[in-house]
């Protein structure tokens, strides 16, 4: 599903964010990318979204070679990838329902499809009773659920999560992890960058550890360190 082959990323200011990274993620896997700040976790996520281009090496996501993907096809790649971030990225002037529906509106889905799918996914993430609330009326955990709902509403093949629990307290983080696990169990490949040790240790999933841009460990059913 995702394949990085000898990928190196050097930013224009000369910083080497990733160096000779090779990683294979199979369909349906749940993978943690761990490591300290600046180890290249976020860069890896950005490369998979084609927000950045690799300096060297090949990246395949959902069967597409990203280096060869023309810019006008990038939106279609992203429709197959859901993304969740530490800061939720919700629109404050839209309700929960509208925030999730927005993701389908802008890719031109018809209204009846939007109404049905948004209702379904909000039920799945446990926010069926808050669809008309605004983001600032929700707790952090609830806001992150909205963001996960938005990421999943178009039924993506891959869910990329960059520190999704970074702003949440431990008990809320556990709930979010349960939700991501649920998303993974319905067939979505999940890649999550985190430095939340407790969560990684509790989940016992595959762990890829980065340090200064290099893969220093790739372990099935691993722990944080």
């Amino acid at each position: 599903m995702i394949s990085l082959q000898r990928v190196t990323k050097v930013y224009r200011n000369g910083t080497t964010a990733l160096e000779d990274v090779t990683v294979e993620v199979e369909k349906g896997e749940f993978v943690f990318i761990v490591g300290p700040s600046g180890s290249g976790k976020s860069t890896a996520i950005r490369l998979m979204l084609k927000e950045e281009e690799a300096t060297k090496g090949d990246i395949y996501v959902a069967g597409k070679n990203l280096a060869k993907l023309t810019s006008w096809k990038v939106p279609h790649l992203r429709r197959n990838i859901g993304t969740v971030f530490q800061d939720f990225k919700l629109l404050q002037d839209k309700t929960v329902f509208e925030n999730v529906a927005f993701a389908l509106e802008v890719i031109g889905k018809p209204k009846h499809v939007i109404d049905q799918r948004v209702a379904e996914i909000l039920e799945l993430v446990g926010l069926g009773d808050k669809i008309n609330n605004f983001p600032d009326e929700l707790s952090g955990g609830e806001q992150q659920r909205v963001s996960i709902a938005r990421a999943c509403v178009n039924r993506p093949l891959v869910l990329l999560a960059d520190e999704p629990t970074g702003n949440l307290d431990p008990s809320t983080s556990v709930e979010i992890m349960r939700l991501l696990d649920k998303v993974n169990r319905i067939g979505t490949t999940v890649v999550m960058a985190t430095h939340d040790q407790a969560i990684v240790d509790a989940m016992r999933r595959r762990v890829i550890e980065l340090d200064k841009g290099k893969v220093v460990r790739d372990q099935a059913r691993g722990v944080y360190a």
């Binding site: 006008w72 802008v106 938005r150």
Partner: protein
Amino acid sequence: MSRFEFLFRETTSGLRRNGLVAFAAISTTFIALLLFGLSLLISRQVSLMIEATTGNVEVAVYLTDPVNPDTVRSLSGTLTGLPVVENVDFESKQEACDRFKELFANQPALVNNVNCDALPASLRVKLEDPEQYAQVEAVLQGQPGIDRIVDQSAFLDRLFAVTRVFRVGVLLISFVMLVSAAILIANTVRMGLFARRKEIGIMKLVGATNWRIRTPFLVEGLFESLIGAAAAILVLFGLKVAFINPLNESVQFVPWIVNSDVIAIIPWLLLAAVVVSLLASLAGMRRFLDV
């Protein structure tokens, strides 16, 4: 349906958000198109006046009194024989008098004080090529019965020169205003993009195409310029009614532009509005929307 609703919602919310800049863009477009329309109407008016005052006749051959019909016939024959001459008309003293009275109908003092006998009969010559006036003069040189040969093309040239300065001046100002309007529209689009950068970021993440993201801004720019164009058209009609209609009553020897002349320039104004706003919007969003 949902697509259209979405577009409409995005566009109107954008206009509400930066209303002041949108207003500036609309009013500049309005002034630019108003001046553009004015310059078009002035050209039209000038050509109407030229047609009326010279009757599209380039050369007038004034004849000595009394007029001998044989002279008229032979001169007409000579002139018609020239390849550069399109046609020749004879204007008798009475016809000259009538035309004079008609031209200055609103100045009775002038009409009453001029004895019609003082107005000469003339041959009115229209040339295929006004540049070839010398040929006409050469052929008529020394012929009997001719008082004076007047080349009106010199007068027309002067008239054109004067009105050209005026017309080009207005056109230049309207061009400068159009450029300002374009810059203001580009600016509203850019501010709109900035205000909505978070939304745009999300749109990109969930896989909205660039055109999907751009269209509301293009429509916003288009909307602003078309409001400006509509206002300009209304004001042009207003000016026509306010200034030309009273002139039409009092200054009758000049044919004034009519409503259909104003209607005829509407497509040009709309075209200018559309082109300017599309170019401006695209320029405004160019650097913002790399994937």
